[in-house]
């Protein structure tokens, strides 16, 4: 063949290959192209988003203007206290109202809502052609995607706020007394330091955490339960195990801490505990990561910003464990605007908007966000979160779900939360409380047909 034809052919081949490749890529839209298509299709529509009071929802609220500008969809929001959101969503579902399209969804409720079909199964949405790769569902940290919003391999919630339990402390106070993290790495040592700090600083209590009856009490109790070697259910058989010596020890430990805590902490939900720490009235705050950006922001927390550091949950006699959970975004099964809701959900949880989200106070959920150097620089606590996630993986590897995502969880949480609170305020001994809780939980499981 003559040289000219050969070069023409190879040129043609290149063009064909190139064209073929670009056609293949054109099937996967970029984020901006996707926004364009959304805008043309849905501009002028509106949807309703209901959420709980939380730092991440404030972050989302600040992004709403951008969302409306980028997609032309108007968002109406409603905000309620965390405790009330569950009932609100359930009642809306029961009454067939369909008033809410997309909602903020706690992992605790996903089991119940999935069974009752309150949430829309989103698996098909995620797997839609051309969606999966650019949205990159695999980029979500597994603990928070498969380990939180997924039930029976169906996705009911996509994580927007990744949470792992840890302790935030006042570095300035510990430095003053020469206490380092090595003095705090086991539960015994931690308690010792807590006792030591009692009364040392005026108007500062050693420890604070959420312990109000119900969901809050269970959250805190579970932070101690596993390190002490206790667990909720025995694997496979679903028999409650709260009367073991380990579970009782864990509750005793939690009740012991009350002596070094602010008065009426037994009434504290998550907001009150945060406010107490933020106003500088406590040394240790046993909680989780979402509040940290707020604590580090001098405008929001003028008293403690710049003076805090993070500690992992101390190792207990039973092991070195931490807890994980997430707040998700879910779509209402009764919504008449599910596609719009899905658009909103994708936007808020997308890689592309992740930067805005996190810099406005949101919590990371994607692996890529942890690897993004800019974000890591702005969020000093990311490496600490990774350490806590490793601790959480310890627990997950033993086959335990930090808070089992079964439909009966809400009932279990209320019963257990009652008895933990009773022990906490001294109306029952920890043994009595856990005995009663065990019986109540067993009854729930029996009624639900587990045995």
């Amino acid at each position: 063949m003559s040289k000219k034809i050969r070069s023409a052919l190879s040129g043609l081949l290149t063009i064909v290959v190139f064209l073929g490749l670009s056609i293949g890529y054109a099937a996967e839209p970029t984020f901006d192209e996707w926004l364009e298509s959304v805008k043309t299709e849905y501009a002028g529509e509106s949807l309703t988003f209901v959420m709980a009071v939380h730092p991440t929802t404030s972050a989302m609220t600040s992004m709403l203007a951008d969302f409306e500008r980028d997609t032309g969809i108007k968002v109406n929001t409603e905000e309620v206290q965390e405790n009330h959101l569950h009932d609100k969503l359930l009642l809306d579902f029961v009454s067939g109202g369909g008033n809410y399209d997309v909602f903020y969804l706690d992992t605790c409720w996903v089991g119940e809502f999935a069974r009752k079909r309150v949430t829309q199964d989103l698996t098909s949405y995620i797997n839609r052609e051309g969606q999966y790769d650019w949205y990159d569902y695999d980029d979500f940290v597994t603990a928070w995607s498969k380990g939180s919003g997924m039930i029976d391999n169906r996705v009911h919630g996509v994580p927007i706020n990744g949470e792992v339990t840890l302790i935030v402390y006042r570095k300035d106070i510990l430095d003053k007394y020469g206490i380092t993290e090595d003095d705090l790495d086991t539960t015994d040592k931690f308690l010792e330091q807590v006792k030591f700090l009692e009364g040392k600083e005026p108007d500062v209590y050693p420890v604070v955490f959420r312990s109000r009856r119900g969901h809050n009490a269970v959250y805190s109790y579970f932070q101690f339960l596993y390190p002490f070697g206790g667990t909720l259910f025995n694997p496979g058989e679903w028999e409650p195990q709260l009367t073991t010596a380990e579970a009782v020890e864990a509750l005793k430990f939690m009740c012991e801490l009350k002596k070094y805590a602010p008065p009426s902490m037994e009434n504290f939900g998550v907001e009150e505990a945060n406010t107490t720490f933020r106003s500088g009235k406590a040394v240790f705050w046993v909680g989780a990561n979402p509040a940290i950006p707020g604590y580090s922001n001098p405008e929001v927390s003028p008293v403690i910003a710049g003076k805090i550091d993070v500690l992992q949950i101390p190792q207990g006699p039973g092991g070195n464990y931490s807890g994980w959970t997430a707040w998700n975004l879910g779509v209402s099964s009764r919504s008449r605007k599910k596609d719009l809701a899905w658009v909103f959900l994708q936007y808020m949880t997308s890689k592309e908007k992740g930067y805005d989200y996190i810099t406005s106070g949101g919590s990371p959920v994607r692996i890529s966000q942890f690897e993004n150097l800019e974000l890591v620089e702005k969020n000093w606590h990311f490496p600490e979160m990774l350490k806590s996630l490793e601790q959480a993986a310890n627990l997950a590897n033993t086959g335990v779900d930090w808070r089992p995502r079964i439909p009966e969880w809400t009932k279990i949480s209320e019963e257990l939360g009652y008895y933990v609170a009773m022990a906490f305020i001294g109306e029952m001994t920890p043994e009595q409380a856990l005995e009663n809780a065990n019986n109540a939980i067993r009854e729930i499981m029996e009624d639900a047909g587990y045995y």
């Binding site: 905000e79 309620v80 067939g96 008033n99």
Partner: protein, 277 residues
């Protein structure tokens, strides 16, 4: 001490005592109103701020950011309708009851009062299930129907007392003149009890306006009434006290005002008809 000194001492004590009582009962209300005009910063200042520069932003925020106007409308519509409908149903019944003498009167009283006294929390569960089944959850209609359950007994009870005090002779004279019993009712009995009637109507309005339990269960976004709006503020304490007190002022001012109008009838209405918030 001679008599006039002693009397003066007691008078001064009496005045102080009255003052203390007035302060105890009115200060919480007045303080709330004052807070509603303060900036968020002024609201939480210790010691409490007495002299301050008033602002209207709390009120404007209520109507712009929270859908307060809608809720107010719901409250007005529901209270008025429930009262009017209850009036129409109960007045004839009360009148007839006052005039007849039958042995089963006591049984009717027991029935009416039991309905009146029945706890809202007990009845609301079946009301919720029924409203859901019929599809009227979160509508004004659901509230109006449930409010009949405590308004009708109240009107019945109050008005039968007033009607029974009317002298029968006037009615008998009209009857002889050829007036129908319905005519006697509308043209003689009702006009003569107008003051009691209006007092009773206002009491119904107050009760319906203040009702909380049924509203909590049976409404969501669309037909929510004013009392349950406090739920909106539950998560934001310490931040939105100004807005919160503005809301509570708007909610309570109308009923306090109405109560002032009928204060002489308050005791009778609430004791006779049983106590319903």
């Amino acid at each position: 001490m001679d008599g006039s000194h002693k009397r003066k001492f007691f008078r001064v004590c009496g005045a102080i005592g009255s003052l203390i009582l007035i302060i105890i009962f009115s200060l919480p209300f007045l303080w709330m109103i004052s807070m509603s005009f303060k900036t968020p910063l002024d609201c939480v200042k210790i010691p409490p701020v007495v002299l301050f520069k008033p602002v209207l932003t709390n009120y404007t925020d209520l109507f712009n950011r929270i859908n307060f106007g809608n809720y107010m409308q719901n409250s007005i519509v529901v209270s008025l309708t429930a009262t009017i409908v209850s009036m129409i149903i109960s007045l004839p019944a009360a009148y007839v009851f006052a005039r007849i003498r039958k042995k089963y009167k006591n049984k009717i009283i027991l029935l009416v009062l039991s309905v009146r006294m029945a706890p809202a929390m007990s009845l609301v569960i079946p009301f919720f299930v029924l409203s859901n089944a019929v599809g009227i959850l979160d509508t004004q209609l659901a509230l109006i129907i449930t409010y009949l359950s405590f308004n009708i007994p109240l009107i019945f009870w109050m008005m039968q007392g007033y009607f029974s005090q009317l002298p029968v002779e006037i009615e008998e004279a009209a009857y002889i003149d050829g007036c129908s019993s319905f005519g006697i009712f509308t043209r003689i009995a009702l006009p003569l009890t107008v003051s009691g009637l209006s007092a009773t109507a206002i009491l119904c309005l107050i009760q319906s306006w203040n009702e909380f339990v049924y509203a909590l269960f049976l409404t969501s976004i669309r037909s929510r009434t004013l009392p349950t709006t406090i739920m909106i503020f539950l998560g934001h304490e310490g931040i939105q006290w100004g807005q919160m007190t503005a809301a509570t002022t708007l909610i309570t001012l109308p009923v306090v005002f109405l109560a002032f109008l009928v204060k002489d009838y308050l005791v009778r209405g609430m004791a006779m008809g049983g106590i319903k918030e």
